[in-house]
């Protein structure tokens, strides 16, 4: 009996439509309820005026031990799918089969009344999540430990900071032991220590549950998930390997603008360009910096910052680390710089360039996300850099 092959979540051709217009939406609500009362079939309806498909033909199966990441732009349908899986809204077509208890880490602190104390609210929140009083009694100390709220547990929740409320909410919610876990970006708030604890907790549960995680942080997704579905405008455009899915999402969300250029007084940038846009393992990058200056400035150095497509900084080359300092002349200047032995994995990268004065605290020219290059045939594929 292979316990790890059980399919816990089965989604077959699920679609869901929403309405853009408030008044029409309310009216459709009435008609839908009437349809429910008269026992209509309700399958495969077309779009009524002002309606759009928030989800169209989504299908997948999820087994125990799988952690599925749902990624896509805002409004692509991820949270809607979670709501359908959580039995909060009905699909407009298709079917969903869920085996086992469903636990949702979607809204923390549900049921909290701010006037009551943390202690009282722990019981309310626990009850909303389906935990019995006995379960909470047994775990109460653990909950307060996890939230680190010993001094404040008997204070009204209205005097908690939002971080404290989130900590308390998560501490209670972490006692759920469902077969299917639905998680929606609640980990976006809270300080770093708290976020680490959340991840540790979730990682512990991953083997015994089927998890669906919605997040905008590609970092979180790549840490926790072993499978990814990419959403675009309600459609399922990719289902599979996490890194491939993340790349697809990154290219889809690339945009032309955001080349922020800043120059300090007396300077103007003419051109910042990378000459070899595609390099291989151990290759070299040559770039030029063409600018004008009103004054002579001594002792400047160049910072070449490599980022991922989403702006996440991963590496930096500084000319000062190689004892290379440049003098800026009055008039036009042309710097040609070659960086050798570049060892990055296959991917597309963007560059932030900074020309700065001696001590490093005064930026003369900043060109943010202003150039691109890509790496092919690299020798490593998984990590960003090798020690």
């Amino acid at each position: 009996m292979n316990k790890n092959n059980e399919v816990l979540v089965k989604v077959e051709n699920v679609s869901k439509k929403f309405c853009r217009d408030l008044k029409k939406s309310l009216l459709y609500g009435l008609t839908d309820i009437a349809g429910e009362i008269t026992g209509r079939n309700n399958h495969n309806r077309d779009l009524r005026p002002k309606e759009f498909w928030a989800l169209k033909d989504i299908s997948f199966e999820l087994k125990r031990g799988e952690v599925l990441g749902l990624i896509g732009r805002n409004g692509a349908g991820k949270t809607t799918l979670l709501k359908v899986l959580n039995n909060l809204i009905k699909p407009d077509s298709g079917r969903v089969t869920m085996r086992g208890r469903v636990g949702a880490l979607i809204a923390l602190g549900a049921g909290f009344n701010p006037i009551l104390t943390g202690r009282e609210n722990v019981y309310v929140n626990g009850a909303v999540l389906g935990l019995t009083k006995k379960e909470i009694d047994v775990k109460f100390d653990e909950i307060v430990d996890f939230a680190e709220l010993w001094e404040f547990i008997d204070t009204p929740v209205q005097s908690y900071s939002s971080g404290m409320q989130v900590r308390l909410g998560f501490a209670v919610a972490s006692n759920m032991e469902p077969e299917i876990f639905l998680i929606d970006e609640i980990l976006a708030v809270g300080d770093r220590a708290f976020r680490l604890r959340c991840f540790n907790h979730i990682s512990k549960l991953v083997n015994s549950t089927a998890t669906v995680l919605v997040s905008h942080s590609m970092f979180n997704i790549s840490q926790v998930c072993n499978r990814v579905i990419v959403f675009d405008g309600g459609n399922q455009v990719f289902d599979g390997d996490v890194q491939k899915g993340i790349s697809l999402y990154n290219t889809a969300t690339e945009y032309e603008t955001e080349k922020l250029i800043y120059t300090s007084k007396g300077l103007s940038l003419n051109k910042f360009e990378i000459l070899d846009k595609e390099i291989t393992w151990d290759g070299e990058l040559k770039f030029i910096l063409d600018f004008n200056s009103d004054n002579n400035i001594d002792n400047t150095f160049v910072r070449f910052i490599v980022t991922q497509i989403d702006g996440n900084v991963i590496a930096e080359w500084r000319s000062s680390y190689h004892d290379i300092y440049c003098s800026v002349k009055k008039g036009s200047n042309l710097f040609e710089i070659i960086i050798k032995n570049i060892r990055l994995r296959n991917d597309k990268y963007k560059v932030n360039l900074i020309l700065t004065k001696g001590s490093g605290s005064e930026y003369l020219i900043t060109a943010h996300q202003s150039a691109e290059f890509s790496v092919k045939d690299s020798l490593f594929t998984s990590s960003d850099y090798v020690i």
């Binding site: 009996m1 316990k3 059980e6 399919v7 816990l8 939406s25 309310l26 459709y28 609500g29 009435l30 839908d32 309820i33 349809g35 429910e36 009362i37 008269t38 026992g39 209509r40 079939n41 309700n42 399958h43 125990r64 709501k83 959580n86 039995n87 909060l88 809204i89 009905k90 699909p91 407009d92 077509s93 298709g94 079917r95 969903v96 089969t97 869920m98 085996r99 086992g100 208890r101 469903v102 949702a104 979607i106 809204a107 549900a110 049921g111 009344n113 006037i115 009551l116 009282e120 609210n121 019981y123 309310v124 009850a127 909303v128 999540l129 389906g130 019995t132 009083k133 077969e179 015994s208």
Partner: protein, 290 residues
């Protein structure tokens, strides 16, 4: 350390489809019963939460539960004594008469308002977390009963003060009280789905309730002449109110048939309202913002 994983055969399986739940009536009834049982603990928690929080930030505390009926009674007693508002003879001293009527009416009105009030109060997590929805209704009714119980103390005081004797039928009174609340709850549950979508219900209900109170023999004895007697025959609250008051005061039942008929209708429509509530909720949740 032994780790036991449940096999697929033991796990509860649920299927969601676009179909109306009415197409599988047995499954619907089973899940209604299951949710009702599952919601008891949550209902109690929500009830305790609401009662604890209700007057925590006030100085007078639970005294506030007494004050509305006290003021209504004093107002009508004054108006009656000054002959500004004349009601004729009542079987017991007028202040006690008004107090009973007001308390019973308040029970009905509170019960009618409670479903929509509880849903609006819980909007934030209603659309995000799946929990047995019956808990909201039960917690609401709990609050209504609690408030009624507090006001009952007032009634005891008034009856004691006027040395009014109660007949044996007073033991039937809880039935009457519950019947009035059930009627109110029935209207509340039937109106709730519409009320979630359209705020007109929320705004209109206080107006209607206010007017309705004057069309019911709350502060005056039931009119016997036509057409005023229609107020007793067409108004569903009247038979319940009148009979319950008679249970506590005279022991003579004048509207017993109406009482029984209304109770029967109430229970039926309440059950239908429950089904409607369940069928409507998923559709309501997708239309409300949270």
């Amino acid at each position: 350390m032994e780790e036991t994983l449940k096999t697929t055969e033991e796990l509860p399986e649920v299927v969601y489809t676009p179909e109306s739940q009415l197409r599988k009536p047995r499954q619907l009834l089973k899940s209604m019963w299951h949710d009702l049982m599952a919601s008891r603990e949550l209902a109690w928690r929500l009830f305790v939460r609401n009662i604890s929080a209700m007057y925590r930030q006030t100085m007078l505390g639970y005294v506030w539960a007494f004050l509305p009926p006290v003021f209504t009674t004093l107002t009508f007693v004054f108006l009656n004594s000054q002959k500004i508002f004349s009601v004729g003879e009542t079987d017991i001293p007028y202040p006690a008469y008004v107090m009973i009527g007001t308390l019973l009416w308040q029970g009905f009105a509170d019960a009618m308002n409670s479903p929509l009030r509880m849903i609006n109060q819980s909007k934030s997590f209603l659309a995000k977390i799946n929990f047995p929805r019956e808990a909201l209704i039960l917690a609401g009714i709990g609050e209504v009963l609690f408030n009624f119980a507090i006001r009952l103390i007032l009634l005891f005081i008034v009856f004691f003060w006027y040395k009014i004797s109660v007949p044996m039928t007073v033991f039937w009174a809880p039935l009457g009280i519950l019947a009035m609340m059930a009627l109110g709850l029935m209207f509340g549950v039937l109106l709730a789905p519409l009320g979630v979508l359209y705020q007109d219900i929320e705004k209109g209900l206080p107006l209607i309730t206010g007017m309705w109170m004057f069309l019911t023999p709350v502060v005056y004895p039931p009119p016997t002449g036509w057409p005023a007697s229609l107020l007793s025959s067409l108004n569903p609250v009247s038979p319940l109110l009148i009979t319950t008051r008679e249970m506590i005061t005279t022991g003579n039942f004048t509207h017993l048939t109406g009482f029984i008929v209304i109770i029967g209708l109430t229970l039926t429509l309440l059950f239908i309202g429950w089904i409607l509530y369940r069928l409507a909720l998923p559709h309501l949740i997708e239309r409300i913002s949270a």
